[in-house]
Subunit: 266 residues, 2 copies
Amino acid sequence: MAGFFTDSSRVTSTGEGIHHAEIPPGWDIGGNVNGGFLFATAARAMADVVGRPDPVSVTAHFLSPGRAGEAEILTEPVRIGRRFATARATMATAGRPTIAMLGTFGTLEPDPDSPLMVRGAPPELPAPEQCAHLAPTAPGSPPFIGRVEVRFHPDDAGFFRGTPTGTPSMRGWFRLADNEPIDTIGLLLAVDAFPPTVFNSGLLGWAPTLELTAHVRARPAPGWLACRFDTRFITNGMLEVDGEVWDSTDTLVAQSRQIALLPRGD
Amino acid sequence: MAGFFTDSSRVTSTGEGIHHAEIPPGWDIGGNVNGGFLFATAARAMADVVGRPDPVSVTAHFLSPGRAGEAEILTEPVRIGRRFATARATMATAGRPTIAMLGTFGTLEPDPDSPLMVRGAPPELPAPEQCAHLAPTAPGSPPFIGRVEVRFHPDDAGFFRGTPTGTPSMRGWFRLADNEPIDTIGLLLAVDAFPPTVFNSGLLGWAPTLELTAHVRARPAPGWLACRFDTRFITNGMLEVDGEVWDSTDTLVAQSRQIALLPRGD
């Protein structure tokens, strides 16, 4: 028993360029499987096909809502290089194309001799027990809330209580349920596990993701991940969400950006 | 004669899912065709295949250096929706796979009724004639310099003279040569037309792009585009470059992010 996330996102090769997954219930929000979970599961099949463990840069375009149950991932290697390997994939759930992906994978070993420049820092967060969270047992709580542990910066948690901050940002801690160890594929779940930033803008409703790209910069150390998601531009019915994920050693382990559609008021 | 960029990046359908392009000399730097030019040209074929003019979100993974001459773009529609359409593509130059792409296209009409939130502003730049530029006729100047007009913020131009600022940023103006009108496909050129930000970090050498994603947020008004490119994290041999492109009406027209490899000192 590797842990619920690892078990849930397991893929099995069932033929040349075909993987199957069985998405259990519990990863959905309002009946739709969380986008980051789909992203991570399809990336596992891509990593398997190219024989490299770490997603250095992976992009998903979301085609239709994902459903629990049997999923099929079709993969195709594009280029297998010495240091990096690129593949594309399409994942179908409930027999329907769900996400299209393109990604480059490698082996992320720390390189202490590499130049280092860090113009940024992890978000300043109170200890996890001082942060706000949604209880998985609360009425109306989506099943997904029980699969990951998200602890919100108290200043960004107003949206829970109907008092959004007015700033489309979310800062908080993330880990898998039961503190299951997380690998670089798990970071693809982390970058899409927080509620939409627009929940804090006062614009109600879900913001469906058109496209999500993650860059994994390092393998995460064990422990809580400190995360920050910010939207700077809501224009023409679209918004971007920029994410940073920092591990317990204050190392930047992933960056993400997505483009999403504004919730429609009507 | 639509202009040199439009003519150079023209694509012609020569069969189901096949486009040809003829990349003229003059778009290269050190013999390699500029990545943004390849990105824009392949996106033209994708836009043609899906029947939507504007690249809302496009990602390219760079497989090998691009060469001038005949290019072939293989495209495949992934999903044609009501509002957006998604396609993938692979472009070969000199008979060799050069970039793999995945993108979603739409029709970007301004929507004055849409909520607007802008947490940011164009870079503050002196007038173009007060900015620094590389003369296309200077000795050693790459041919690409004559194809686009880039005017650097004087504070970011130290790298010309061997005095990098120490901050991996580049701010400046961009337009096509001869002030050729630019469309949303042209913005894909703009997001990769500046020198690598690391030229200002003191790390010498080219920083090859692994992957580049652009989000086009609006159609650009005529005139100079104000651009900003920043690198915040150089870690483990990799760096990201975040770009913003603003038009002459101070509207954000594109965002970009790429992940690139650090120049090797050896």
